[in-house]
Symmetry: D2
Subunit: 330 residues, 4 copies
Amino acid sequence: MSKKRILVAGATGFAGALAARILHRHPELELAGITSRSDIGARLDSIYPRHRVPLELEELDLDGLDGFDGAIVAYPHGAAAPVVQALHTQGVPVVDLSADFRLRDLATYAEWYGDHGAPDLVEGAAYGLTELNRAAVQGASVVANPGCYPTASLLALAPLARSGIVTSAVIDAKSGVSGAGKGGGDFSEVSENCKPYGVDGHRHLPEIEQELKALGASGGLTFIPHLLPLDQGLLASCYVELSRPIDAEELRGLFDDQYSSEAFVEVVNEPPGVADVRETNYCRIHPRLEWGGERAIVFAAIDNLWKGAASQAVQNLNLMLGLDEGQGIA
Amino acid sequence: MSKKRILVAGATGFAGALAARILHRHPELELAGITSRSDIGARLDSIYPRHRVPLELEELDLDGLDGFDGAIVAYPHGAAAPVVQALHTQGVPVVDLSADFRLRDLATYAEWYGDHGAPDLVEGAAYGLTELNRAAVQGASVVANPGCYPTASLLALAPLARSGIVTSAVIDAKSGVSGAGKGGGDFSEVSENCKPYGVDGHRHLPEIEQELKALGASGGLTFIPHLLPLDQGLLASCYVELSRPIDAEELRGLFDDQYSSEAFVEVVNEPPGVADVRETNYCRIHPRLEWGGERAIVFAAIDNLWKGAASQAVQNLNLMLGLDEGQGIA
Amino acid sequence: MSKKRILVAGATGFAGALAARILHRHPELELAGITSRSDIGARLDSIYPRHRVPLELEELDLDGLDGFDGAIVAYPHGAAAPVVQALHTQGVPVVDLSADFRLRDLATYAEWYGDHGAPDLVEGAAYGLTELNRAAVQGASVVANPGCYPTASLLALAPLARSGIVTSAVIDAKSGVSGAGKGGGDFSEVSENCKPYGVDGHRHLPEIEQELKALGASGGLTFIPHLLPLDQGLLASCYVELSRPIDAEELRGLFDDQYSSEAFVEVVNEPPGVADVRETNYCRIHPRLEWGGERAIVFAAIDNLWKGAASQAVQNLNLMLGLDEGQGIA
Amino acid sequence: MSKKRILVAGATGFAGALAARILHRHPELELAGITSRSDIGARLDSIYPRHRVPLELEELDLDGLDGFDGAIVAYPHGAAAPVVQALHTQGVPVVDLSADFRLRDLATYAEWYGDHGAPDLVEGAAYGLTELNRAAVQGASVVANPGCYPTASLLALAPLARSGIVTSAVIDAKSGVSGAGKGGGDFSEVSENCKPYGVDGHRHLPEIEQELKALGASGGLTFIPHLLPLDQGLLASCYVELSRPIDAEELRGLFDDQYSSEAFVEVVNEPPGVADVRETNYCRIHPRLEWGGERAIVFAAIDNLWKGAASQAVQNLNLMLGLDEGQGIA
């Protein structure tokens, strides 16, 4: 049986290029085309030598998509929607790495990103945090791949949120520079520095709020990202007020119930470092209690470009195409 | 008038060596002796070329201290107390960089550090967070220089704590590797990593609790330090529950009242990065509100080796010796 | 057919742990045992979470080696020889990561490392720079895996040396911290620094000299390593005086003749960065000419822990066991 | 006596901003104005908080320069010449940080930088490598501040070049990212990387050639810069063929004769690291011999933004204005 043919649209950004790398080595999928809006004709391995993807970048031809069995779109927010629309119209299952299909509420979307380019597709899109929405992803034709901060934060908070005991939460998040994309951080400003940013409202805040609410959490949410002097890695340190005290056994039970059968979530007994998950699809989580069980602290570490973007996109694509979700990323 | 002669005891650690560097360039104090427990006979500039202190390391002679007009002790916790005792007995004003005289309660001290080597001196020692205890420092013969985390955390929280509106607080702190002292971090483990540590109880927690309580804060305190892949720099991100909502004007007023006349505290309108204060005695603070004023967020950045250790020690020594506190560190 | 069973002796150092990781994922070899001299009973993934090798560290039992079909030994210089001897005696093909079997001349060995623990095995050991000694490796029962600096330097210089036109050479080499092994670099000394070291004679110098001579190079050799503020990566910048001027075509021809059929050597048209080969078995080489062709400059980049140690060991082991050399490392 | 009033033209780049910081703290000079081509009206401390220069950026008024007693120009190559011309015409002594007045030969200048904007001033400009051209600097009204690579390379090679025994030289140079100016290095490309660049000809090559020839060196020169994953720091590793063998005593004598009375050049007995000179005006040099004295190796470390740019500019300005050259930078 021939391999299914996959397109990566927007392969010159960090996440798109990494998706191309993963698909190029995928045992059951074929990286059949890579496109970009610049560098047409260049081979991807001339731009990202380390990824060693010898394909040539082409211009995206929206009328010639029928040769693909699936697609990952890595366009900027706003620019992604029409591309996703075209793929969808031509029957190509698509995982979108942008924010365009993450927010259910079009007014909220407009507030952060402007007019939506394909509003009719929003309702049908699945929110692709695989471990929390597997069934929806499997049946979807459009999957909105979560943001990197939401991925770590929601995996950290889901077991508590689903049990209905979250009163309020502070997410103090730390991310490497690659999270901001190409050209996202000048070495001289980032090196030997650590700084909060986006404090007046980060784009990932409404996404986290939407999903936390869907999981059952109520109350106030504070989300403060910090920029770290490293390239890949994201740590969410979550401080959660609980509506009633719980003990260590109950805490552990909540996390085990949620994650014990998950291949890519590791619940561990000590705080994770981002290096523990570097260049993997793993999320490594350590929950603990304080104040007689009235406050939970949950640390979650991911690689922002892998589980926070490209490898989770492949995990979702695998599911959509009926493959084992770990193919090519384990 | 001849310059006052200062001893640095324990000059081969990071903080002691930096204190020696600052004193060697001090306009009104003379670095008259440097001692250590190893490397006797070596010149300090052979160990720390960048500091360019051409003095030779000597063995500490506890019977020959009368030639000094002041001292900074940079010994490990526990080892410092007898040295401070000896200096005090011989009438030498001393700033101690260890934790030995920070905790008022000897039982708490014993829990974290073991038996105390000079318990009679504890009560009389001033807690040298200069901006919060200036009067006590000026009159003291023994000053306990604060830990690096307490320095940033307490400067961040003092204006709120003193106003009596702090219900509880989370301090998510991030520090560079030098905070752990010489040999404190293997490059291969720290680089490209970020990790919480000391989560079962960091030694700076009782120190912060003691001083916060003294300032008027009640309620629970969570303190989680994280190790950053950088050498010098410390950021405390503090999330504070307030007993009543306040507005931006009141918030700013509280911080201005506390710090507007302070030379080394900068209250600013956007979040500080640790690079903003690198190799300075400054603490840079940004307070803000969330949730309709029911939660305050305060960021404070310092250099852990300067304001968090050596330069604050000189600031305190200046005061004890009747000099302008900014001499040699501005 | 069942997989061949491989032992990694000395799996807690950087190179041994990485060899274990590679073998644990190897499609045709089974990581059947890992041993160490410390941490007996601990699981390797508790020490190196990122490698995700769930095996338990055992004590090495020199009398119970007959269950293995091959071994990689990652002991310190001097300690490796008796372990290699024991494996050899019991008929287990072995790749040794130490320097114990690299130097042909026992007097030279003694000068740098002391008495040799298994002198009778030296002559029969193959020098495992795979691309330059493939035939010898295939037939060997003991392979001395090259040092990281020699690997990059010799791959850079071999095409010129074999053509007999090298008059003298300067190798200005730069390496990441992991090259010095665990605990090899304190963050505070390495970060924001770059420094030559080993200038009075680095242990890799006689190894490079021996092999260069064997390849046909004569004349003086200068080898100066520098420590870089990064973890993994090694760049050798080689400046070569030629006995006669050559042109660009001849230069390129020499490198193509040597490497055009090599899977793991990339000869490219612009200088490589060490990030291009990070966590791969590739060596990336760029040769060029100066001064009318009288001087050649050759840059070669490898990952010091992969091609410079663990992945090249697996490449050699594959060959010794009759497998495709790229199995598990491509 | 009132302090002399100094202008920094182009204060928003790294070197200009640092010059402003140094002058703002200068005991005998007054930073009387800072200008830029962007950010007019902004305070410099809003752009570079760490420098703490509270002055406002103004537009440069070429007709209103008579209120200044000296100037440092930190414009890009090509744009500097007319500004230097205007200052010179109005009698203001000027140190220019660009390459515009470094190259004596206008044809060579044109080859690298295009047409010259003030060719008549070239001949009269002094080349401001202070230690090698002090007399010329003292009497000059226009000083061309050297490039960072030439500064380290020429200080390393001058004692050998002046003795007439240099046959050829290889300069393998390594620099931090700030050497490329603002926006010069994306963190994701620089971090965990090390790469040669400018191999087809770096702009500093003709400058080094010109000055080496003036010092008496003949023969071929190879200059290869490498980019390091650090912010500030430059190391030149120089490999020099000598026309006759010399011994260690003669070597040391040559360097001592040249530098023993220099305040800012340290000749030391072991290789320097760039951290040894960080944020100082020092150049730290270690010379050694190989091959029976036929080859010399000289390492020189500087801070590329300090001795390689801003602090050397102040050193030169001090001399031009009749002050002690170390004022404000020691």
